[in-house]
């Protein structure tokens, strides 16, 4: 949780009620709280935190400013439950947070936040939320430097230039079948030739332990030239994925 918060003004609550507010004796069940940023400022919200006071459900709407400068209200949280049982005390005075990841849309370029509070139970005299704080996203170039490898782990897989080759994800699924085949072969030692194994048009070579596999690679693999290898190949189980145009595998298992 980020400690820094954005300075904002919390407007007084507005009740939403059917009928005349002054003459009606029943208590309102819906309150609306507007939280506005100083004019001209926008924020990318990381988290909205508040302290509950007997509110059962909260919906959050954001006033987002898009590229052209036009502002639009969008709902980012719908009927989020704060009190599982509105007639009883559970969750009634808890500290809560709504995080960016829970929101339906990206809370970026927000100028105003509207909290719609609902309390359907008539057991409570009053309800609201207190201490509303908006936490912005941390900048990309924050003062804490994280090492590159860490950021690699958290990044979404970047699509590298495949140069016309198929998606590695789909290929790796199909490799399962190849692996199963080689396992079977390992148990049933034969001198039969496997022949050529194609996976969706891309030949895969799988070298596994203690089998004498003669493989000829006629083509260049990446930046490396693979010489044709004769003789027994003693390798542990690991997978080489070579995107090759043509490869023929002659395996003779002794």
């Amino acid at each position: 949780m980020s400690v820094n918060t954005v300075p904002c003004t919390v407007k007084p609550t507005v009740t939403l009620q059917i009928g005349d507010a002054e003459t009606d004796s029943s208590r309102p069940g819906v309150y609306v709280i507007d939280v506005t940023l100083p004019i001209g400022q926008t924020v990318n919200i990381q988290e909205i935190s508040f302290k509950n006071y007997y509110t059962a459900y909260v919906s959050v709407r954001l006033l987002r400013r898009d590229g052209e400068g036009a502002a639009k209200w969008v709902t980012c949280l719908r009927n989020h439950c704060l009190m599982p049982s509105p007639h009883t005390e559970e969750g009634s005075q808890d500290y809560c947070s709504v995080y960016r990841q829970q929101m339906l849309i990206e809370p970026d370029n927000v100028t105003s936040v509207r909290l719609i509070l609902r309390q359907p139970s008539s057991a409570w005299l009053n309800f609201s939320v207190e201490d509303i704080k908006i936490h912005p996203c941390l900048n990309e170039d924050s003062e804490w430097d994280i090492p590159d490898w860490l950021s690699d782990l958290t990044q979404v897989d970047q699509l590298c230039d495949l140069q016309g080759l198929p998606d590695p994800q789909t290929v790796s699924c199909s490799i399962q079948q190849m692996w199963a085949l080689t396992e079977v072969m390992q148990t049933n030692q034969t001198t039969a030739s496997i022949g050529r194994f194609d996976v969706r048009g891309v030949p895969i070579v799988y070298l596994h332990m203690e089998s004498n596999v003669h493989i000829t690679f006629p083509a260049v693999v990446g930046e490396k030239d693979l010489e044709s290898k004769e003789g027994p190949v003693m390798l542990h189980h690991f997978l080489f994925i070579y995107w090759l145009n043509n490869v023929s595998i002659q395996t003779s298992l002794r």
Binding site: S49, H87, D94, A123, L125, D131
Partner: protein, 520 residues
Amino acid sequence: MLLIVEDPTAFTGCFVIHLFEEISLLTFSFLFSSLFSLPSLSLSLFHSLLPFLSLLLTLSLSSQPLPSHPAAPPEHAKEPLAYMRKAQVNWEKRILKSLNSMCTELGVPLARKRPAVEQKELTNKWNEMGTDEPDLSRFRPVYAPKDFLEVLISLRNPNHDSSEEASAKSHWGLIQVPLHDRDIPQMREAYSELSLTTGQLGIDDHTHVPPDLFESEHTRIGKKVVNEQDSAAAQQYSRQGCPTGLRADLWALILNSTNEPEDVMHYEQLKAGVIHHDLLVDNLIYKDVKLTASNDDYYFVFEDFLYQVLLCFSRDTAVLEHFSYNSATPPKSYIQGKVGVEEFAVVYPPNGVIPFHGFSMYVAPLCFLYNEPSKLYSVFREMYVRYFFRLHSVSSSTSGIVSLCLQFERLLQTHLPQLFYHLREIGAQPLRIAFKWMVRAFSGYLSTDQLLLLWDRILGYDSLEIVAVLAAAVFAFRAENLMEVTSLTSAEVSVPRPQAGRLSPTHTHTGFHSGPWLLK
């Protein structure tokens, strides 16, 4: 030296001795020693607690609340509802006032160092303190459960609309706070191991039932659990009852309570503390044991054990850890002349728990299981910091006494409305009868074998909810008799007495399944 116990509302949060921080520990031991001028005690206290840190780290967190929101202050973790915190603080003020006035009236100091002669005498008599007959007539318990009940009855949520008179949701009972509790269908699911189709010790191990049906298999599994030293399995196993021979080991497993040399050393350290210093609460403990356990047919033989455990318990600062999730705050006392100065504050009694009338009954049933004082002490302390503390503090926890009382009343109102209404009309609110049972978790009100079966389930389900269900079940059992009584006193007599009746676990069955009663 007379210490003045200061108003605890002067400070926020609780004064928890951080045993993981060397500096504060030394400060504490320095304070303790400066108050009672015994430097050797402070150093050895420090050294003995160091190996104990590793044990603290292995404390199970099952009874502790979930990690709270980062913005929540520590008092929110103790008790989320503000009005309950306030009520607890006011209650503590009253207790301290009572203790202080007793102190001044009787002219007895809160703590004093024993002279060497007295120390020697006590060391010799350690195993037979029951034979001592000190003059305790001037002492009286600080409070009794019925005083606490009045506090709970007066609990009100300022935001709760209680203006309406009789309505569909009005509650007939004494507790008027709208806490959440589970109804029968939800409890049936949660307590599925107590269903009529599952074997239970206490019912299915009686002489007329062939042991092959359930008992021998259950015992075999129990032995396996003990051999594997599997704590989680022991907890699950305990839901169907523990065989008498295995119960001690199973409970120790569930509570993560060991009897390693460092535990024994810790106990010996506490014993040394008892011998060196005399606290006012010691007299309260003596008085309580004499009034309650010594008069009980089952427990009077364990009088000496009770002293050995409770006197040491009062001096155990490790208990202060539990105040982070207990709504109560330990009382602080200041060195004379330095009132309000934090550096000269010390928790009194050292464990922060002031015993009340009936407190010794929490320990008494455990004496049947453990005969080694350090082991007995270790198990009792763990049971206290997990369960028993909730029975005498104001909190909204589902295992707290407020929830148990509310649960009891709601069950009665929902399932026995006629009985409830009748009792209300004659001025015998059911909670006034059942409260004392629940505060002691039925200790002293059930025969010991029945009680231990009940406590098996408390440990197995890690909750005190079953105590409320049993209380309602007792009323359901005696419903016919109770419909005929005309006053509170006759109502109390109508309900089974501890030694006279034997309740079997089917009472809990009935609570869930409205089946026939089996009372032996």
